[in-house]
C-alpha cells in the first residue's frame, strides 16, 4: 500500500466491523420483535380461552 | 370561555382580547412570576460569571493571552447558562395544567409560545448581554470590542432562546428531561457558537465584523421565523 497500509487497512477493517454490526444488530432486533409479538399473541389467545 | 374561536378568546370581562394584548399579558405574567423568585432569576447570571471564571483559573493565563480565548469562553458560558433556565420554560405550567388552559383559551398555542419565549429571553438573554461587559473585562476583551460583543450576544441569545424553546417543548413531559434538553439544543446551537464567537473575535482583532454579524442576524431571523412553529408543534405533541 505504498507505506499507507496502516491507514488504509484499518479503514476497510472498520467498514467491515460496522457492516457486521449493522447486520447482527438488525437481526437481533428483529428476532426480539418477533419473540415479543409471538408472546403477545399467546397471551391474547390465552386470555380469550 | 370560547375555545376554538378564530382570532380572539373572551377576556374575563367578556370583551375579546387581541393577539398583541394577549401576548403582552402573558409576557407580563411571566415577568411577574420570575421576579417573584429573584434567586431563580439570578442563578443563570451567577452561573455565567462562575463559568467564565473557571477558564482563567484553570488555565492561569495572563490577561493579554486570555484575550485570544475570550470570545469562545464568553459564548460557551452564555450557551450553558441559557440552557439552565430553559427547562422551566414550559415545565411548571405544563405540570399544573396552566398550559392546557392557556392553550384552550382561544388565543392559539403559538401566541403563548412566543410570549413565553420572549419573556424568557428578557430574563435570561438580555440579562446576559447587560452583564457581558463585566465578563469581558475579566477576560481581557478590549473595551472597543464591547459594542460588537453585546450586539452579537444579543442576536445569539435570541436565537438560543428559540432553539431552547423547541427543545423545551419536546422534553416538557419527561421526568429527567434536563440533560436530554441540552443534548438536543447544543448541536443545533453549534453554528451559532461558531459565528458568534467569530464575530467577537474579529471585533477584538480589528477585522471587519460585517460578514459574521450579517450571518448571525440571518441565523436569528431564520430561527425566529421557523422556531415558533416547531416549538408549538412540539408542545402540542406533549400536551395532547
Amino acid at each position: 500500500m505504498g507505506g499507507y497500509a496502516r491507514y488504509v487497512w484499518p479503514c476497510f477493517g472498520l467498514a467491515t466491523v460496522i457492516f457486521a454490526w449493522n447486520l447482527w444488530s438488525a437481526r437481533r432486533y428483529l428476532a426480539a420483535a418477533r419473540l415479543r409479538a409471538a408472546r403477545a399473541l399467546i397471551m391474547a389467545a390465552g386470555g380469550e380461552s | 370561555m370560547s375555545a376554538g374561536t378564530q382570532g380572539g378568546g373572551a377576556g374575563s370581562r367578556g370583551r375579546p382580547v387581541g393577539v398583541w394584548e394577549a401576548c403582552a399579558l402573558i409576557v407580563r405574567r411571566e415577568l411577574c412570576l420570575s421576579f417573584r423568585r429573584p434567586d431563580q432569576l439570578l442563578q443563570p447570571l451567577v452561573f455565567f460569571l462562575i463559568v467564565t471564571t473557571l477558564f482563567p483559573l484553570g488555565l492561569s493565563l495572563q490577561l493579554s493571552l486570555l484575550r485570544d480565548m475570550a470570545p469562545g469562553v464568553l459564548w460557551v458560558a452564555a450557551l450553558l447558562s441559557s440552557l439552565l433556565s430553559l427547562d422551566s420554560l414550559f415545565k411548571s405550567d405544563a405540570d399544573d395544567g396552566t398550559l392546557e388552559q392557556l392553550a384552550l383559551s382561544g388565543q392559539g398555542l403559538m401566541v403563548i409560545v412566543v410570549a413565553k419565549t420572549l419573556a424568557h429571553w428578557l430574563v435570561t438573554g438580555a440579562a446576559l448581554v447587560l452583564v457581558s461587559p463585566l465578563v469581558g473585562m475579566a477576560l481581557g476583551i478590549p473595551t472597543g470590542a464591547f459594542a460588537i460583543m453585546m450586539v452579537s450576544l444579543g442576536l445569539g441569545t435570541v436565537t438560543l432562546s428559540w432553539l431552547g424553546a423547541i427543545g423545551a417543548g419536546l422534553t416538557v413531559g419527561l421526568k429527567r428531561g434536563n440533560v436530554l434538553l441540552s443534548l438536543i439544543v447544543l448541536p443545533l446551537a453549534m453554528p451559532l457558537l461558531i459565528f458568534g464567537a467569530g464575530a467577537t473575535d474579529r471585533a477584538i482583532s480589528g477585522a471587519s465584523v460585517a460578514g459574521a454579524l450579517y450571518f448571525l442576524a440571518a441565523l436569528c431571523v431564520f430561527t425566529c421565523t421557523l422556531a415558533p412553529f416547531a416549538a408549538t408543534v412540539a408542545l402540542r405533541i406533549n400536551l395532547e
Partner: protein, 244 residues
Amino acid sequence: MWTWFYKLASPPHVYGVAAAFTPWFLGLAAIALGYGVVDGLAFAPADYQQGDAFRIIYVHVPSAWMSEFVYTTMAIAGAIALIWRIKLGHAVAAACAPIGASFTVLALVTGSLWGRPMWGTYWAWDPRLTSELILLFLYVGVMSLRSAFEDAARGDRAAALLSIVGVVNVPIIHFSVVWWNSLHQGATVAKFGKPSMDLSMLWPLLSMFLGFMLFFGAVLCMRLQAEVLNRERQAKWVREAMHS
C-alpha cells in the same frame, strides 16, 4: 393504478415487502461491494498525489454520503408521519436512525485516518468535519429523545420533529466546502458536468455507492420489519405473519 402506492401505508403489506426484499438487497449489495473493494484496492491505479492512501475514498465517501442520505430519509419519513399521520413513517424513521449513526461514525473515523497522511492531522475544526460531527450528535439526540418517552407514539412524534429541525444541517455539510475555505476537498463526483476523477478509479467508487445503498436497503428492511411488529403487535395480521 396507484394501488401499489397506497399499499405503502399498510403495515402488513410493507412487512411482507420488506421481508421479501431483504435477501435480494443483501445479495446484490455483496456483489457491488465485493467488486468495489477488489477493484478499488487491487486494480485501480494509485493516485498521482496521494498514492495508495486515496483508496480510503472507497469507504469514506460512500459512508459520508449515506450518513447524509439516511438522515434526510429519516427526516422525510418523520415529516410524512407527522403531516399525514401515516404511522409507517415513524417505523421507517426509527429504523433509519441507528444505521445512519453507524455510517456517520464510519465517515468520521475513516476521514480522520485519511486526514493524518494527507493533512498531517487526525482532526481539524473545519466546516465539513464539524458539521458531520454535529450530524452524529443529532442522530444521538433523535434516538435518545425517542427512547425517553414512555408513550411510544409520543416519542415517535417528538423524534420526528427533532429530525426535521436538524435536517438544516445536511445542506450545510454538503455545501460547506463551497461556502467556506475548507481544508476538505471539494465535490468530485456529485456535481454537474464531467466528474473530475479518472474512470478506472470512478467505477469501483460508483460500485461502492451502489453497494452501500443496497446494504442500507437490506438493513432498513430488517429493522423496519421489527419496528412494524413493535408498533402493530395487537393487530390481526401479525398472527398470519408469525405463522408464516
